[in-house]
Amino acid sequence: MIIIGVFILFPIVQSFWMSLHDWNILRNTKVFLGCKNYVKAFADERFLNAMKNTIVYTVSYVPILIFTALFVAVFINYKFSGAGFFKSLLFMPAITSMAIIAIIFRFLLDGDIGLISIWVKALGLPAKDFLRNPDTAMGSVVLTGVWRWMGFNMVIILSGLNAIPDSLYEAAEIDGAGKVRQFFSISLPLLMPTMTFVLITNLISSFQVFDQIYVMTKGGPVFSTEVLVYYIYYRGFNVFDMGYASAMAFILFCIILIMTLVQLKGFRESEKNGVNA
C-alpha cells in the first residue's frame, strides 16, 4: 500500500505540479508558470512533429498487427500437424527483450552487413540503408514492432477463438455454410469483444512506444521517427527540462486515459452481455 502510495500516487500529483513550472534541475530553476508549459507544447514544432510521428506509428502499426495476428490465429486454429511448434516459434519474440530485438533488426537492416539489404541488392533493387533514410526509417520501426508483438496478440485472439463452441460450426456446416462464410458469420462476431480488447490495448501501447526507437534510430534521421515518449525522455533526461517534460507526459496521460475509459466501458458492456447470455 505504502509503496503504491509513494511510487505511483505521489508522483502523479508531483508530475502535475511540476508541469506547471519551469523546472530545470541543471539550471536549478523552479518558477511557477501556470499552464504556460502546455501552451508552449502546442506551439513547439518538435512536439507537434513527435505527436504526428506517434500517430503515424499507431495508424500503421495497429492495423497491420491486428490483421496479421488474426490471420495467423485463425490459421493455427485449424490444428494442422505441427501447429503447436509453430505457435511456440511465433511466440518466441514476445519473450525476448525489445531492446535485444531492436539490436538484431538494426543489424538486419544495416546497409553493409544486413541480410535484408543484401537480399534487396540481390534482387537488383537500389540498396538502401533503411534506418538512415527518413523515408524508410519509420516503416522499419513499425515492422520491427509488429514482428515482436504478433505472436503475443495471436495468443490472445486464439484464446478467444477457442472459447467459441464447436457446436456452432457443426450447425453451420449442416446448414451448408462454407469455411469462409463460417468465419464471417460465426468467428468474427463472437470474436468482437476480444478484438476490441486487442485493438485498444495496442492503441495504448503504441502511444507509449520507446524501446526500439531508442535503440534503432534515436528519433532520427531528421526527427522522422521521434515519437512522444522519446521526446519526453529527451527533454526530461538529456536537457533536464523536467517541468516541460512533465507537461508533455500529462498530455500523453490524458490521451491514454481516454482510451482506457473507452476500454472499461467496453468491458462493462461485455460483462452485461455475458450475464444476459
Binding site: 509503496i3 503504491i4 511510487f7 505511483i8 500516487l9 508522483p11 502523479i12 508531483q14 511540476m18 495467423v72 490459421f75 485449424y78 494442422f80 500437424s81 505441427g82 501447429a83 509453430f86 511456440s88 511465433l90 518466441m92 519473450i95 525476448t96 527483450s97 525489445m98 531492446a99 535485444i100 530485438i101 531492436a102 539490436i103 538484431i104 533488426f105 538494426r106 543489424f107 538486419l108 553493409d112 552487413i113 541480410l115 543484401i118 496478440n153 490472445i156 485498444i200 501501447s205 507509449q208 520507446f210 524501446d211 531508442y214 535503440v215 534515436k218 515518449v229 519526453i232 526530461g236 533526461f237 523536467m242 517534460a245 512533465s246 507526459a249 500523453l252 496521460f253 491514454i256 476500454q263
Partner: protein, 274 residues
C-alpha cells in the same frame, strides 16, 4: 476439425513460410555470432558459415562486463519477482478476505493506478530516488516495482475463489492468522502465484526504460540496457553484439521451454494489464 491431406500440405507450406519469417532473424543472429568478423561483413557472403570461430564470444567476455549485466538482471528481475509476489499476495489477501474500514475505496484507488502509464511517473520517480541518494543502486532500481496494482488485483481474484470454510477450519484447529495466510492460503494459490511470477519476471527482465534511467554506470546496468548502450557507443565490431544477443536470450528461452503453458498464461495476463 479433420483436414484432408492436401489441405494439410498447403497449410504446412504457408506455416513454413510464416515460420521462416520468425525463425530467420534468430537463426541469422546465432549463425553470425559464430562467424569471424570478415564473414559478418560479407566477404564473402555466406548465410551458413563455412568457417567457425568463437572469437566473438571471447571478445564479448573481455570487452563487455557481460556477467555483471547478467547478474544485475538476475538480481533485479528475480528480486522484484519474489518481493512483489509476497506483497501482492499479502495485499490481495487483505482485500479479499479481511474487510477493513475503507477497503473498497482503497481498492478502487489501487485499480485506478493501473490506468497510469509509466511515462507519467518516471520523472518524479527519478527525482525521488535522487533525493534519497539511491540512484544507480539495486534499492532504487527495485523499490518502485515491489508491488503493483495488477498483482494485487490478480491475487485478490484468486483468493476470492478460496472458500471461507477453509480459513474457519484452520481457526478452529488453532492456526494463527499469519499461519492461515502462509500455511493455508499460499499453498492453495500456488498456480496463480507461478503465473504471476512468470509475468513479473519476464516484464522486469525485458524492461528497458526504467533500468536505463536509474543506472548510469556499467556495474549496475541490466542486460538489455547494457547491450543496447554498448551497441551505441563502445563496440565497433558487430560479432560480439551478436554473441551478446544470443546469450541474453538463452536464460529466458530455457524458462520458456520449461514452463511454456505458464508462460503463455502469463503473457495473456500482461495483455490484460496493458
Amino acid at each position: 476439425m479433420k483436414l484432408s491431406r492436401t489441405a494439410n500440405l498447403i497449410i504446412l507450406m504457408v506455416s513454413i513460410l510464416i515460420g521462416g519469417i520468425f525463425l530467420l532473424p534468430f537463426l541469422w543472429m546465432t549463425l553470425s555470432s559464430i562467424k569471424p568478423e570478415s564473414l559478418i561483413m560479407g566477404h564473402p557472403e555466406q548465410f551458413f558459415p563455412t568457417e567457425l570461430s568463437l572469437e566473438n564470444y571471447t571478445i564479448l567476455f573481455s570487452q563487455i562486463p557481460f556477467f555483471r549485466f547478467l547478474l544485475n538482471s538476475c538480481i533485479f528481475a528475480g528480486g522484484v519477482t519474489l518481493c512483489s509476489l509476497l506483497f501482492d499476495s499479502l495485499a490481495g489477501y487483505a482485500f479479499a478476505k479481511l474487510p477493513f474500514k475503507g477497503s473498497t475505496v482503497l481498492f478502487i484507488l489501487v485499480l485506478m493506478t493501473m490506468m497510469v502509464p509509466f511515462q507519467i511517473t518516471m520523472i518524479p520517480l527519478y527525482l525521488i530516488m535522487n533525493k534519497f541518494h539511491i540512484l544507480n543502486t539495486y534499492a532504487g532500481l527495485m523499490l518502485p516495482r515491489l508491488t503493483n496494482a495488477f498483482g494485487i488485483y490478480f491475487m485478490r481474484q484468486s483468493f476470492l475463489s478460496v472458500p471461507n470454510e477453509l480459513m474457519d477450519a484452520g481457526r478452529i484447529d488453532g492456526v494463527s492468522e499469519t499461519g492461515i495466510f502462509f500455511r493455508i492460503m499460499i499453498p492453495v494459490a500456488v498456480a496463480s502465484l507461478s503465473t504471476l511470477g512468470v509475468f513479473h519476471f519476464m516484464y522486469n527482465w525485458n524492461d528497458f526504460l526504467w533500468p536505463m534511467l536509474m543506472t548510469n554506470t556499467l556495474e549496475m546496468q541490466t542486460l538489455p540496457v547494457g547491450l543496447a548502450l554498448f551497441q551505441g557507443e563502445h563496440v565497433m565490431k558487430h560479432g560480439p553484439m551478436f554473441a551478446g544477443a544470443v546469450l541474453s536470450i538463452i536464460p529466458i528461452l530455457i524458462i520458456f521451454l520449461a514452463a511454456q503453458k505458464t508462460f503463455i498464461k502469463g503473457i495473456a495476463l500482461s495483455g490484460i494489464k496493458g
